[in-house]
């Protein structure tokens, strides 16, 4: 009896050696990158959040841009994978005002139509924003999404600069808000 049990044990061990799991259908999860982590900071004072781009009252077609000398956005990049930084504009969500229900502003390549604004973004410095002479890395928001920096290597904290141009004409005199997402995409 003891011989039989020993023999069976050896056979089972041999079986285990050759019974490789079929990898094709295994349910399994591999986490390549644990966390995506970015922060928008004031370039001049990196400890502070970039909480406001104070454009203030603007004339029609007025252009305002971030510069190296002034404040721009420092992106603290805590991602451990190369990322692209994209900018998405969101629908302008202006509340109704004394002038009535506002018309949402839309992004465009060049202002010239009522309620269309322009937004440029880049991670290149110095960069002279110019509608016709686009410097390296500069992109213009023509739709709802643009790439402003790509690819950003692990450990690199990119600086972002934006230029904004007010529409050449507006349908209402209400206060408008343009919301922009800076999105890290692996």
């Amino acid at each position: 009896m003891r011989v039989f049990i020993c023999g069976l044990a050896v056979l089972l061990l041999l079986g285990a050696a050759w019974a490789q799991p079929d990898p094709d259908d295994d349910f399994n999860i591999t986490v390549t990158v644990t966390v995506l982590d970015i922060s928008l900071k004031q370039s001049a004072v990196p400890a502070n959040d970039f909480d406001l781009w104070a454009l203030g009252p603007q004339a029609l077609e007025q252009e305002t841009e971030m510069t190296d000398a002034g404040d721009h956005i420092l992106v603290l990049n805590g991602c451990n994978v190369p990322i692209d930084l994209k900018v998405w504009s969101l629908e302008d969500a202006a509340p109704a005002c004394a002038f009535g229900v506002p018309t949402a502003w839309q992004p465009t390549m060049a202002v010239g139509v009522d309620d269309f604004y322009s937004l440029w973004g880049t991670d290149v410095s110095p960069c002279v924003f110019d509608n016709t002479n686009i410097c390296d890395g500069q992109t213009l928001l023509t739709g709802r999404i643009i790439t402003v920096a790509a690819p950003i290597a692990v450990g690199v904290d990119p600086h972002l600069y934006f230029k904004f141009q007010v529409p050449s004409g507006v349908s209402d005199g209400c206060e408008h808000f343009v919301h922009v997402r800076v999105v890290a995409i692996p």
Binding site: D26, F27, T34, D37, S39, K41, D49, A184
Partner: protein
């Protein structure tokens, strides 16, 4: 409830690959999406699954866009609320419709996570999900994808050194494909296609693989057979890929090599 402007975002996971996803079964990945709130106020997050082409011009090779982003979702809905200095989490689920067309798939999906919009600029992230369904030879319907592939994974060993794979043209025009063996660059931090579990990519195994033919021309709605052959099997189990160029995106077939029997 106070909602504060959010200029930082921290979300887990960042890049994840899930293999062996069941088809036709609403499945929890038993893995949560977590939004970490490092502020002193409550923050709400909106989560939206997006096709890769909605966020990038070029994403991971080998992965096609998921046909329908609604298949990937969070158990607790598309809005999560995190308490001050806390976190919000919800289990990730996937519900792939019951069709043999959805076996043999490698799909990419991004989940855009955005804090409530407040100021002009808001930080957001888009974790990447790479999803693979089980391999299935001889499906009853052509597999999804351009080209459709069946099976999407094969195992070779020294008493079974050869296997066939069918490539389906699911388009209405002629598909010209080139086929080669491949393993990805293995630099750290790269989120290129991952090896499966402990089946590590192996250069020698790749070099011992051959495919025939190396170029095919497939008329619309037809299929062709290719053969994968291995002349080398290492001591440990390993993996390489067959790479197919010419479709909408680069496609891969996983080739697993079993150790040599002595």
């Amino acid at each position: 409830m106070a909602i504060q402007a959010v200029f930082a975002i921290r979300v887990s996971p960042g890049v994840i690959t899930v293999r062996g996803l069941p088809v036709g079964v609403d499945t929890s990945l038993n893995f949560p999406l977590i939004c970490f709130n490092d502020t002193d106020d409550t923050v709400s997050y909106t989560i939206q699954a997006l096709k890769p082409s909605q966020v990038k011009e070029h994403w991971r090779d080998g992965f096609e866009e998921i046909p329908d982003t609604s298949w990937l979702y969070l158990e607790d809905g598309s809005e999560l609320v995190a308490p001050p200095n806390g976190k919000a989490k919800s289990m990730i689920r996937i519900n792939i419709p019951d069709s043999e067309a959805y076996y043999n798939q490698m799909w990419a999906v991004y989940m855009l996570v955005t804090p409530e919009k407040t100021g002009m600029f808001t930080a957001a992230v888009a974790p990447l999900f790479m999803l693979e369904t089980p391999s299935l030879a001889n499906p009853k319907v052509p597999p999804a994808g351009i080209p459709g592939i069946a099976p999407s994974a094969i195992t070779l060993q020294n008493d079974s050194t050869k296997a066939s794979v069918m490539l389906y043209n699911t388009t209405d025009s002629v598909l010209i494909l080139t086929i080669s063996t491949y393993i990805p660059a293995l630099e750290k931090g790269s989120a290129e296609i991952e090896a499966t579990g402990n089946w590590h990519f192996n250069e020698e195994f790749k070099n011992g693989l051959s495919v025939s033919p190396e170029k095919v021309e497939i008329p619309p709605d037809e299929k062709v057979e290719i053969t994968v052959n291995s002349s080398y099997f290492p001591e440990k189990r390993c993996q390489a890929l067959v790479r197919i160029d010419g479709g909408k995106v680069i496609r891969y077939i996983r080739i697993f090599g079993q150790p040599s029997k002595k």
